[in-house]
């Protein structure tokens, strides 16, 4: 059976991506799903759950609601909660059951917005896509609704797009990103959507360049390029030297106004394979090359675009394809989430790089800081 994972887990679903992207922005997120499912989207997949408050709800959809198509309960419960909580906006997400019964979230969101007077987004999630799709849709909704033309910041202002704890270590990353931008002579404007308030994001059009740190930020970057003429640069500032060269790329993009998607990578034969989200993996590969002279290829098991990858990289979604590819490549080293262990050929060295969207809290304590930090020791 194609696409059935027998040994490895699947990535967090689209709904989790929405909840994660919206978590810190002061909105209210409601998932239309059975009672209890909130823990899947927002506790297991959410390192901030015990530290930061966020208004995330589950509608407690019952079998009878699904049979009878009683959207009214979802609408009135949402409106009532919003009247108590005064969220800055409302986000409605689907799940597998409403997908089957054809719940019209666009129409429901309009109704909620009309009754509550609060801007309401309908997300087209159904639990069968990856967190990248959900986070991408949520971020684009925020940018489209809340970012307007505004005066440019004095220096080279930068927005970080596509950052959630599903791809990035929550504790520490924001500080390291700001430190890197500051020491590189760049100005931090906002981060979508980790460590920024909605007010900071509203100023996003004052930036000169957008930095896309995961594919979840790509749609927003494309939108801002079209709408405000802000070019984007894909990349994650791993290591020190590679981070510095990424900062240079940003400065050049600010000057030229053209976007930069690709990283500096080696074209030699690769004895290292990195498995992960495309932009993260590609720029880790680049950093390994720049800092340690290691040539590596990427296997991307998540939504991305071929134009972000090298010819030696591959997009595989199915466990059996990943397993087969690893067998054929027979790399010396694989860099991946520790739970990939079971599909990696015997004798291959695995350098664990825990990812929340894949292994949740299992290895949270072992997540390394790699941003604007010496990475030589970790990947030696």
């Amino acid at each position: 059976m194609k696409n059935a994972s027998k040994m490895i887990p699947c990535y967090s679903a689209d709904t989790a991506g929405v909840c994660s992207a919206m978590y810190e922005l002061g909105g209210m997120t409601v998932t239309h799903d059975a009672s209890g499912c909130n823990s899947t989207y927002s506790t297991h997949d959410e390192p901030r759950w015990y530290d930061i408050r966020s208004d995330i709800f589950i509608s407690a959809l019952t079998e009878m609601d699904a049979i009878m198509g009683t959207d009214e309960k979802l609408i009135s419960d949402t409106v009532k909660a919003a009247e108590d909580l005064h969220p800055k906006f409302i986000t409605l997400c689907g799940s597998p059951m409403p997908m089957m019964t054809g719940t019209d979230f666009d129409a429901i969101a309009e109704e909620v917005e009309r009754r509550s007077g609060i801007r309401t987004f309908a997300m087209h999630t159904n639990g069968t896509h990856s967190y990248i799709d959900g986070a991408s849709e949520a971020m684009l909704a925020v940018v489209t609704e809340f970012v307007n033309e505004c005066p440019k910041a004095d220096g080279i202002g930068v927005n970080i797009l596509g950052m959630t704890p599903l791809d990035f270590k929550w504790r520490g990353t924001s500080d390291l990103m700001k430190k890197w931008l500051g020491e590189s002579g760049l100005e931090y404007i906002s981060c979508l959507a980790m460590g920024s308030t909605l007010d900071e994001i509203k100023n996003a059009a004052s930036a000169k360049v957008n930095l896309v740190v995961s594919y979840a930020g790509m749609a927003s970057a494309e939108y801002m390029k079209d709408k405000f003429g802000i070019p984007y640069v894909c990349g994650v500032p791993f290591g020190i030297r590679a981070a510095e060269s990424l900062a240079d790329t940003i400065k050049k993009a600010a000057e030229s106004g053209s976007s930069v998607l690709l990283a500096e990578r080696s074209t030699d034969t690769c004895d290292t394979v990195i498995i992960g989200e495309s932009i993260n993996a590609v720029f880790l590969s680049s950093a390994l090359y720049q800092e340690l002279g290691i040539s590596s290829s990427v296997i991307c098991p998540l939504p991305t675009e071929t134009r972000l990858l090298n010819s030696c990289d591959a997009e595989y979604l199915a466990e059996e394809d990943i397993e087969k590819a690893l067998k054929e490549l027979s790399p010396k080293t694989v860099i991946a989430d520790p739970l990939y262990k079971s599909v990696i050929p015997k004798g291959t060295r695995l350098i664990g790089l825990p990812q929340f969207a894949f292994s949740g809290r299992c290895f949270e304590k072992h997540m390394p800081d790699l941003i604007y930090t010496d990475i030589k020791e970790y990947f030696k």
Partner: protein
């Protein structure tokens, strides 16, 4: 772009009327796309002279490699034809099938590529679940036309459809375009249809008599206007096409 959906009880003549409207408007120089939204997948047979592969069967076969060319068939008369398809009777979820097929068409950019002047959704009669209301949702049909005769069950189905349209009024869905009366020769048929139209504050936009030519044309897998262009039914169907267009004015 004019977008309409034809609803009504099973066997009442939706596909016959849809196909004849499509053929008629195409003859008048409009680009028409007819999308069959019935698991029976026979909406466009009169236009194509045969069964065409359905979006759902093709999706199952080709998955993400499905292209618009696979799913869309241009009839000899120039109507752009699509069949959504669905599961065999007794299993699966036909309603979900309609949703999936229509979403696939949209994703493939069917409306942008073919740029039709008119889109006709020919939808299975009883709006028994969310899936069958998909064609009346925002972004799909703007007006719903209900085919009925004076027979009790046909009027019952028609009233249910009109009620669904009314219930969805606040949602920006399609509005009621009118009733098309396909006569079966029951007593006081016109009055009964008029009563139904009045109940839902709409009107009868066209009528069609029982016609031997329609049945003969059906056997030849042709539209009646193609097989018997001079017959009364062909003229009535042309007037129905006028009525549909007029209701968009």
């Amino acid at each position: 772009m004019i977008k309409l959906a034809i609803y009504g009880k099973g066997g009442i003549g939706k596909s016959t009327i849809s196909s004849n409207i499509s053929a008629e408007l195409t003859r008048r120089g409009m680009k028409v796309m007819q999308i069959g939204c019935d698991p029976k997948a026979d909406s466009t047979s009169l236009l194509c002279g045969k069964r065409i592969p359905t979006v759902l069967d093709l999706t199952r076969e080709k998955g993400s490699r499905l292209t618009l060319d696979d799913a869309v068939y241009e009839s000899p008369s120039g109507v752009v034809c699509v069949e959504a398809g669905g599961p065999v009777p007794g299993v699966g979820c036909a309603g979900r099938g309609i949703i999936n097929a229509l979403e696939t068409l949209k994703k493939l950019g069917a409306y942008d590529v073919y740029k039709p002047d008119v889109v006709i959704y020919d939808v299975l009669g009883d709006v028994v679940c969310g899936g069958f209301s998909m064609p009346m949702r925002k972004g799909y049909a703007d007006k719903v036309f209900v085919v009925t005769s004076g027979e009790k069950m046909s009027k019952y189905a028609a009233a249910n459809i009109c009620m669904a349209v009314e219930n969805f009024r606040d949602r920006g869905y399609a509005s009621l375009g009118g009733i098309i009366l396909n006569r079966r020769g029951v007593r006081d048929e016109d009055e009964q249809a008029k009563e139904l139209a009045d109940d839902f504050h709409t009107s009868i936009i066209g009528t069609l008599d029982r016609s031997e030519e329609i049945q003969l044309a059906d056997e030849q897998q042709k539209t009646v206007s193609e097989a018997f262009p001079e017959c009364k039914a062909a003229k009535q169907l042309s007037l129905i096409a006028d009525g549909v267009l007029a209701s968009f004015k």
